[in-house]
Chain length 199, copies 4
DNA sequence: CTCTAATCGAGACGGTACGTCGCGTCTTACG
DNA sequence: CGTAAGACGCGACGTACCGTCTCGATTAGAG
């Protein structure tokens, strides 16, 4: 009877109506996150903003968190995949600059995710995913516990990017990359030359 | 009628019963935060755990957040007061060690606040208070925006302490202080000797 | 677009598929009425039982009630046409026996209608139709309001038949006819001989 | 937490607020039953009419049926207690008249219960309760199955009373009692004199 | 025997009532 | 007569079913 199992993945949906509904809900969520915190955000408010029926929400997602995950999870994975390698690159400063440029290219999305009402949740999801990756890749220093390295590196990077995206006067990606590298990446990889030198 | 204006501050309370109720509620909150997230914590659960009447809660606090603030706000201010000066001390490593020792002395409280269900809120409150302090004191480097310095320094310190308190095998305060200094404090104050050298 | 006007009457349908769908829905309704009440019966359950698509239901009937009416209305009219004349027959006992024999011949159908989950609705439809007939035919006694005679006669007859059909050990049609005649028909037509005498 | 067990019985309630709420809900139910059927009656509509909050309904009754039972169950038992003895009284006509007078005295209540939207349910509850009573008391005739006697007697009596209460021009209790006695009671007890004679 | 239009299944959708839960206010009965 | 216990109005929750709608995929029956 009232089965209607929730579709798991975004791409497996072909029906045009479903695509429309999901798009509307995602857009509504990002819009509302600019105004209020994720916790005090109502599913009713999301569906109202999206222009869909209330029950339609549950035909796609079991709860608010699932919608956020659908919006953010892959983006987070994508960004993480570009962050972890920073620690091994020969020229880590150049790579850091590439990372910032990538974020700047999707500035609107990342501003919503990192400075909006879901910032805390997105931040935790970042760290959760980072910890789940093979930690051996993230062990740059013998005196630093690997897990702490991951938590510190990921958290500090997110904080720095979030601060950047929250500014009205836009710093250039290069400037932020320099700071990010000097404050976070270099201490992790032990790149003393750059860490100590001028920018 | 049902006027009963809520008492604003903790010290203005003299009645023995009020002190008892507030203590019970605070203790109940900290206990419950070890089990579940702050958001999904109900006032009914807090009062049940505290052994007080449901309505009694509202005679002391307007809502959950107020109770948390009452428990955490001053502690946060106290810890912050010990953190900011790190950036100006001649011997910042020594000061960092003092900070970690202080936290270790109140390990139970800080574990509840920094690793429990309210961790996110407490973290944000830390940063909020830090930003509100005179930022001039926190400008160690010309190439680093002052506000970003505060956000980065505070956030990274909290993350590091939270990670430490979440470990079962207890690292010594000195070891953590060394890491904290090398990863966060030194880069902020430009203490290149320590930052670059081995530990 | 979605015009597809609902067919009003049963006989105007020629397409084999429509006949099949309607038959399946009718059968499903009667089956389900043996298990639960008409009210708590959902259209989804009917179509599932019938093996038809959900929307197909609405291509034939505007709502649940219409399906029930399609199944029951003509049967009710047919039975009523055999009941009313009882009141004028010379030999009313013989006619009553004929009525019961007729019901027994369609026992399965009438058991579903009179003892199943739609019993109340079918009963009211009986009385509604009986009242709509010319009431002059039903005025056997000067001291009895005609409308009351119809209501009493129809209602009591239905109740008696329903009780009969609900019994596991099957009373013979003749025995029920005797009781029906003695308790309902005779008092209505003033047949004092039979009403007062022993059976 | 959300315990608040529903109070079972009407009299065990002492709190003035509960009494007020229950009264308002009962009154609202009876009012609305004059306008529409019980099934299509919404709990929201009942609470709206009663002027209470929606959730308050469930603090007193688990569902619509329970409210109806609270309103009707004892009244039904009371009326039944006056109906069954009719079959044994020496002077059954006199007793029948007393029954009708009793109903007339509470005309408003019984009109709501027997002619309103819950008529079918109330009727079934009448028969259910009657069947549950010791059936030996209701066996007046050897040729009539006891259970059928109960069903017929109760059902026919209710129908007759319902018809009476539905009339605008009010028949006198005595006139209805005469008809009820002649059509239902006399045939059941075999009182041939009255059944055949004039009124 | 084909081909065209009616009918079908499947099920997403906007609605709305359900019954539950927690909030914060206000009343009551009890100690 | 002050306080705990808890009833209340409110509103969001997640579920179920309604009746409408759009999709192809058959499949009948007219030509």
């Amino acid at each position: 009877m009232g089965v209607e199992p929730v579709r798991q993945s975004r791409e497996l949906v072909s029906d045009a109506r479903q695509i429309r509904s999901r798009g509307a809900l995602s857009r509504a969520l990002l819009e509302l996150l600019e105004e209020q915190s994720f916790d005090q955000l109502t599913i009713r408010a999301i569906t109202a903003r999206a222009g869909t029926g209330y029950a339609t929400f549950f035909r796609h997602y079991p709860d608010k968190e699932a919608l956020l995950a659908d919006v953010a999870s892959e983006e987070i994975a994508g960004l993480l995949a570009r962050t972890i390698p920073l620690l091994h690159d020969i020229n880590s400063l150049e790579s850091t600059r590439a990372l910032c440029t990538y974020v700047a290219a999707q500035r609107k999305l990342w501003a919503a995710l990192l400075t909006g009402g879901a910032a805390g949740i997105v931040r935790e999801e970042f760290i959760r995913q980072a910890r789940a990756l093979d930690q051996s890749v993230a062990r740059p220093q013998f005196w630093l516990p690997a897990d702490l390295g991951v938590v510190f590196g990921t958290g500090a990077t997110i904080d720095l990017l979030a601060w950047w995206l929250a500014q009205d006067e836009v710093y250039e990606a290069g400037a932020i990359a320099a700071i990010l590298h000097r404050m976070v990446i270099a201490p992790l990889v032990g790149d003393s030359t750059l860490a100590a030198g001028p920018v």
